[in-house]
């Protein structure tokens, strides 16, 4: 398992201070907007960034001052960093050669991983002959091959198109489960984090503002900024909250608190037809609310539709 204690890094105009823990076999997603310091945490854990103060433990061993090659962590780079002069096979075998595995075992392990990421037919190709998705899977196999104690993933799906991302997300989840990997996953995409991770940690300007299981973090965001970052649209300021009959303060109405089809009439202001789902901006008692769900055919803007709002689902958030 991985434990980071009071890790501090300072750049001009930016200070980072982070503590976190990842249990054995767990995937923790570190999410935050770009520039929040996620990648710096990852690089510090990998040993690629010198640490001024704080401690990093892996499996109970203090690795803070250890060079990267002795930490036995795997790092999946955003741009994959595949070695262009080596074949797919030799890329995956790279770490095993460094760890001085006997040749038959290297062969067995490389084969096992190439099978796991379904790349056996491409074993002798060079990285530039592969598609983006295939390169990503080679990078994953290469990082996993030496059985790292912790796998670090830096926006591994960031460079891929949407359709491929979904497919690889499922593949990544399967591979991490099959290998029983302890993983720290950095991304700016909250949906990716929710789908993949056992727990998520939200980072803002060098600090972790909230940690928890995805459902809990989504339902009870620490503050309005976190709520917005996680994709919440219905944040009520004190005036709007009073209109709806909530006690004074900042409130969050989760999407499932809104139910169209019954209750008071609300005016449809804007319609976003997304195919399987439809997004609606509604005017409800003078408050703008967003609802998204299966609705076909989508209503026309300007029409009204009945809407019930379950205020018992509302959550008070810090401003």
């Amino acid at each position: 398992m991985l434990r980071v204690e009071n890790l501090a890094l300072t750049y001009p105009g930016f200070a980072l201070r982070v503590s976190l823990e990842v249990a054995r076999g767990e995937t923790l997603a570190l999410i935050g907007p770009s520039g929040s310091g996620k990648t710096s945490v990852l690089k510090a854990v990998a040993g690629l960034l010198p640490v001024r103060s704080g401690r990093i433990w892996i499996d109970g061993e203090d690795v803070t001052r250890m060079p990267p090659e002795r930490r036995r962590v795997g790092l999946l780079f955003q741009d994959y960093a595949l070695f262009p002069h080596l074949s797919v096979w030799d890329n995956v075998a790279f770490g095993l050669v460094e760890a001085r595995w006997p040749r038959p075992e290297i062969e067995a392990r490389v084969k096992e991983l190439l099978r796991l990421v379904r790349l056996i037919p491409h074993a002798q190709k060079k990285p530039h002959q592969l598609s983006g998705g295939e390169q990503q899977r080679v990078a994953l196999a290469r990082a996993l091959a030496p059985r790292p104690r912790v796998l670090l993933l830096d926006e591994p799906l960031g460079a891929l198109d949407l359709r491929l991302r979904e497919a690889l997300l499922l593949e990544l989840k399967r591979v991490l489960a099959e290998e029983g990997t302890t993983a720290l996953y950095v991304t700016h995409d909250q949906a990716e984090a929710f789908a993949l991770a056992h727990r998520v940690a939200v980072m803002k300007a060098g600090q972790i503002v909230q940690t928890g299981v995805p459902e809990e973090v989504y339902k009870h965001p620490a503050d309005a900024w976190t709520a917005r970052f996680l994709g919440h649209k219905n944040l009520l300021d004190p005036a709007a909250a009073a209109t709806l009959g909530l006690p004074s303060g900042h409130w969050l109405l989760p999407p499932f608190a809104l139910r169209p089809g019954e209750g008071e009439s609300a005016q449809v202001v804007e319609v976003l037809f997304l195919g399987p789902r439809t997004g609606l901006w509604l005017d409800y008692r003078g408050v703008r609310l967003y609802w998204e769900g299966p609705l076909f055919p989508p209503p026309a803007p300007g029409t009204t539709l009945p809407l019930s709002v379950d205020l018992s689902q509302a959550v008070e958030v810090a401003p």
Partner: protein, 513 residues
Amino acid sequence: MRRREGLFYLVPVLFFLALGALWPLYRVLERGLGPAALAVIADPYLMGRFLWSLGWAAGTSLLVIGLGLPLAYLLRQAFPGRRLFIALLTVPFVMPVLVVAVGFLALVGPRGLLGVNLVHTALVLFWAAVFYNLGLAARVLEGLLAGGEALEAAARTLGAGPWRTFLRVTLPHLRPGLLSAAGLAFIYTFASLGLPLILGGPGFATLEVVIYERLAYRLDFAAASALVLWQAAVLMGVTFFYLRAAGQGLVSARSPRPAASPRARLLLGGVAWGFLFLFLAPLWALVLESLKTPEGFGLAYYARLFANGGSYFVPGAGLAIKNTLRFALAALALAAPVGLFYALGVHRGVRGLDLLGMVPLFLSPVSLGVGYLLAYPFWRASAFLLVLAYATMGFPLFARALIPALRALRPSWLEAAATLGAGPLRRLLRLELPLVRPALFAGAALALASAIGEFGATLLLVRPEWATLSIAIYERLGRPGVYNYGEALALSVLLMLVSGALFFLFGARAEGG
């Protein structure tokens, strides 16, 4: 690529090359092939010269990559004045060969600043050749190092220590850069006349020097032609090797690694600038020595240059500066359109064109001079011969600055222009040329620098009234007395200033884009 469009690029380049390189080369082949070529091998003196030339060029290549790699690591670090440092490091590469040779005389010559006479030793020849090529090699390697840092990080997390990472990842990644730096150093050294002629003396004469002497002192066209062929064969092999290696290397500009602490930053800066101070010693020694006259510190040598006005055989400074600028600008006017046609044709994939453009690279300056003397005896009275030689040597430099810039243009820009109604010529004028403007200036700067500093071909083709600065310097070096030496120093400083000024005038515009 339509056939007619291909001919549009091919014909002008072919016409120019036929005039500037192919016909002279044919005339050399005619004279040199056969018994003359074999007689050259049988001559143990000439064989010795040939082997020494190979040894000097190969040794320089090894030294350049051996020293260039640590220097490239230094360039990767952040330190005060890093950008200026990089610019100054490449200054020797664009300096005329006579400036460098006289600079070494000023530093370690018989009357040199250090008081140690290293002239006519192998040491000074290797030193001068490394001085020429080191900066460029370090810059190429620095770009590659920057591009490989992500790969190094990947190797480290996979368990490879620093040394193993260097062997298994960094070195293979650097390979194209190392090969191309070595190849370029070899070509420049092997084809250099100025350094061995002035610093080497008879003991260290290279093939290039021997060709010049056979022709200038004995008018032995047969032997000179045969030697040219041997030299061209070596240059051809190395050029192909170099271009293949260089094609694979990608140079990227990235920000340097931040220093670990402010103290480390200052320490690195101290080391770097200390090194540069020593590295550029021949240039500042030249300036310093040119001011040290028998009458004390002053401008006496410079005053003499302009006061005398020169004689028929010892050209004055005014005439030499005028000739140098005139010929160089005329050569640029010829090299730029040819280089543009060539670069566009190669970029558009005209078959065979890129191969054709390499021919001037096989011909050393003296070889080119031999070829012209054989091919164009009737033009001996025309300075056009000099301009043609400069343009033949300059247009590949111009084109090679342009081609990567053309390749870097996004095809979608041209497609957008086409859908907006711009035909091929309008696209060229409105899109491609404005977008590669910095490269046009960079190419022009390189072509100009090569023309201003040209020495080998000029020495063979020149007539007294066409004397350039390089020739005026060389004439004075061959004459006894402290004043001739002093005037050579002062003229070298002037040549350094002229080429430096023109290069930075054009270079600044190249950077601006």
